[in-house]
Amino acid sequence: MNGYSSTAEKQPPREVGNGRSRSLVSGILFGIGCIAFVDEVVFHQLLHWHHFYDKSTTAAGLVSDGLLHAFSWFASVASLFLLADLRRKRAWIRSRWVGGILLGAGFFQLYDGIVHHKLMQLHQIRYGVEISVYDWTWNIAGALLLVAGIAMIVRTGGEKSETREQETMRAE
């Protein structure tokens, strides 16, 4: 009947993986990768508000920034391969994926805005201006993204898996 289910039964569910959680993970990784890319392009390269290095940067700030940069670089690529695999296996759930993107982007934005800019004083959003307006805009935008992501994931989390599509999958 189905080539998948016969082999899947032999495997423990943990190893087989779950389309719901994988769609979410792929979305979160893609969200982190996207917002990091936007940060680099818009604030570093186009506006020149951010700099390669600021004198105020501490060692801890440099390490945190370096780890986040390397991780987001990896995340943007890995998330798309994960997405390709989900689509290949017909297990992609778009709403979970989009929710994941919002969650990942919101988390990154808030972490950058609160931990990097304020706690670690890594660098500021812009120099030579009253900074609090920028900080509030930055962090509220991040919080909105985060809340929207969580709402979307919670809304889709309670749903039963989309049975009609599962049936077509089984029929194949």
């Binding site: 899947a8 087989v16 391969f81």
Partner: protein, 281 residues
């Protein structure tokens, strides 16, 4: 071993037709031809050797893929250009040129060479007894220790931190032996790291994908952090503008090669998932 010998040759060869010292702060454009000759003397024999093995073993075994040969020759050329020729010469006085050399010799060159599967090619070419010896060597505890991702990454990025944040970089320009040793290390550690993250050749001590992924991300981070650190604190004896340019090249150039490595790493995962059972929603 062959590398270090060729490196010395390259320096000796450079003396022909020029009366300036080979190692010095000033780079003369007139040295150009000699530089290109020394690069050719180093790269061509190695490229020919690889191509000859590929051609010769294809008669007895399955045809050696042209993509591997192309990758091997490109890798040899890039690595060689970091230790001989115009770029290597410019690196004596310019930190930026030195950093470009590092990207080629320690990152992009090794990546291309890893993809060229030189050990597999060697297995096809070696007589049975020598092949058995090579197998035993690869299976040894020593090989397991140095090819482990954590060891390889520490040797690779740790070596760079040591080189640029201590007086080693200045000392390197004063001693030919140290210069050779450091360049051999940069290449060997770069190759070891890349092959431990992206095993193409037979690797009896292969580690799990999660460990390799984590080590890869941490190494990229350490490389980027070093780039920014060098921007702030240039190595002793370098011009500040030159050092800043070199540090940014290290950071963004590193990102470029990292992206290539990440793509290949993820693609291999994607391919390996193909035969696995489907996943439930």
């Amino acid at each position: 071993m062959q590398n270090s010998r060729s490196f010395v040759d390259a320096h000796a060869g450079h003396g022909h037709g020029s009366d300036t010292p080979t190692i010095g702060p000033v780079y003369h454009a007139a040295d150009g031809l000699g530089d290109w000759i020394s690069l050719a003397l180093l790269a061509l024999p190695l490229m020919l050797a690889y191509a000859a093995l590929a051609y010769w073993t294809s008669k007895r075994y399955r045809r050696w893929p042209a993509s591997r040969s192309l990758s091997g020759c490109a890798g040899i050329l890039l690595c060689a250009s970091a230790v001989a020729g115009p770029l290597a010469q410019a690196a004596h006085s310019s930190f930026t040129a030195h950093m470009l050399g590092h990207l080629l010799l320690g990152m992009l060159g090794p990546l291309l060479l890893v993809y060229a599967a030189p050990v597999t090619l060697l297995f096809r070419a070696l007589p049975r007894r020598a092949a058995r010896f090579l197998t035993r060597l690869l299976r040894s505890r020593f090989a397991a220790a140095i090819s482990h991702p954590v060891t390889a990454a520490s040797l690779n990025v740790g070596g760079l931190w040591l080189l640029y944040t201590t007086d080693l970089y200045a000392a390197m320009h004063a001693s030919v032996a140290l210069h050779v040793l450091i360049h051999v290390h940069v290449f060997a550690a770069g190759y070891l790291f890349t092959s431990s993250i992206l095993p193409v050749d037979p690797s009896p001590h292969r580690t799990g994908m999660k460990l390799r992924g984590c080590v890869m991300i941490l190494s990229f981070a350490a490389h980027g952090i070093l780039g920014k650190t060098l921007y702030a604190f240039p190595p002793a004896g370098t011009d500040i503008q030159d050092a800043r340019q070199g540090a940014q090249l290290m950071y963004y150039g590193g990102d470029g090669v990292d992206l290539l490595l990440i793509l290949l790493f993820c693609y291999r995962w994607y391919r390996s998932e193909n035969g696995k059972p489907g996943i439930h929603r």
